[in-house]
Amino acid sequence: MDSLHDNGVPGGSVTGSAPGAPPGLGARFKRDLRIGLKAGLQTFWELARVMIPAYGATLILERLGVIAWLARAARPLMTLLGLPGDAAVPLVVGYVLNIYAAVGSMQALDLSSRQITVLAIAILIGHNLLVEGAVLHKAGMNGFAFGALRVVAGLAAAAVANLLMGLLW
């Protein structure tokens, strides 16, 4: 791990102000640029270290047929959202892979615009759970718990939206 002494750099925080004589504009720019680059590279490295293994795990899950299996298991849930059973496929694809993969598999389905919106809500709240879970883990949270939260809260949000749309239409 890199040394963390950039903590002590004055003016680096929102509230910080330089002690003594303020440095020239050019010098300050150079200093901020250097600190920014360092913070950027450090953050990049930390994210890469958790995202790449998570991405590898995702590919393996897909290859093992876990997506197809989960999609079959989730079919009955889809009626609660006013969606056809096949809508479970883009949902699970989104959970394991990402939004773009989910949109790709949504295009294969014949959905009404209301169904597209309901499914979009569930996918927008829960997607890319392994890679984004790894980032939350890095921030000190439990990645699995947050994955479960996003699945449950996403499905609940979609179900409530579907109910409200039924009342309003």
Binding site: G40, Q107, L136, A139
Partner: protein, 152 residues
């Protein structure tokens, strides 16, 4: 097996490149503008909004980055600011819940708007939902923490 490895290598490169091209410029821009008046005005305005879900001013900048650009990038700034400002577990928890529900507001939403989803439901409704879930979970978590401490 070989094609899986190939996918992994090219996919990883793609992912790393994307993260690099977004994270490094964000961090440099943050460092350059953090001290400016304009930045403080924006962050303060945003802080007044997110105050309602229990976030303080130090958490406003990472939350704004995550809300605009995505969880991974906001997460990166959270990691940085946890180290710098010692945000505390409660603030990190609130940010994580809120950003879990809504992030990358433009990019992610546009993908579905292109498919024909309603802007109102996937933007306005989702933000409202995020606020409700954040407040509810923070209340529950607070209760649990108090109970655990009370017993200890």
């Amino acid at each position: 097996m070989v094609d899986l490895l190939h996918t992994f290598v090219t996919g990883s490169f793609d992912l790393l490149l994307r993260v690099f091209l977004i994270v490094v410029p964000i961090m440099v821009a943050l460092e350059l503008f953090e001290g400016t008046r304009a930045f403080r005005v924006v962050v303060r305005a945003w802080a007044r909004v997110v105050r309602h879900v229990g976030l303080d001013e130090r958490s406003a900048a990472p939350t704004l980055i995550g809300f605009l650009f995505g969880l991974a990038y906001g997460g990166g700034v959270i990691v940085r600011d946890v180290r710098r400002h010692d945000l505390g577990r409660r603030q990190v928890f609130i940010m994580s819940v809120f950003l879990s529900m809504v992030h990358a507001i433009a990019e992610d939403s546009l993908v579905f708007i292109a498919l024909g989803a309603s802007i109102f439901w996937i933007v306005v409704y989702r933000i409202a939902w995020a606020a409700v879930v954040t407040l509810a979970l923070t209340a529950v978590a607070g209760l649990l923490v108090r109970r655990l401490r009370g017993r200890g």
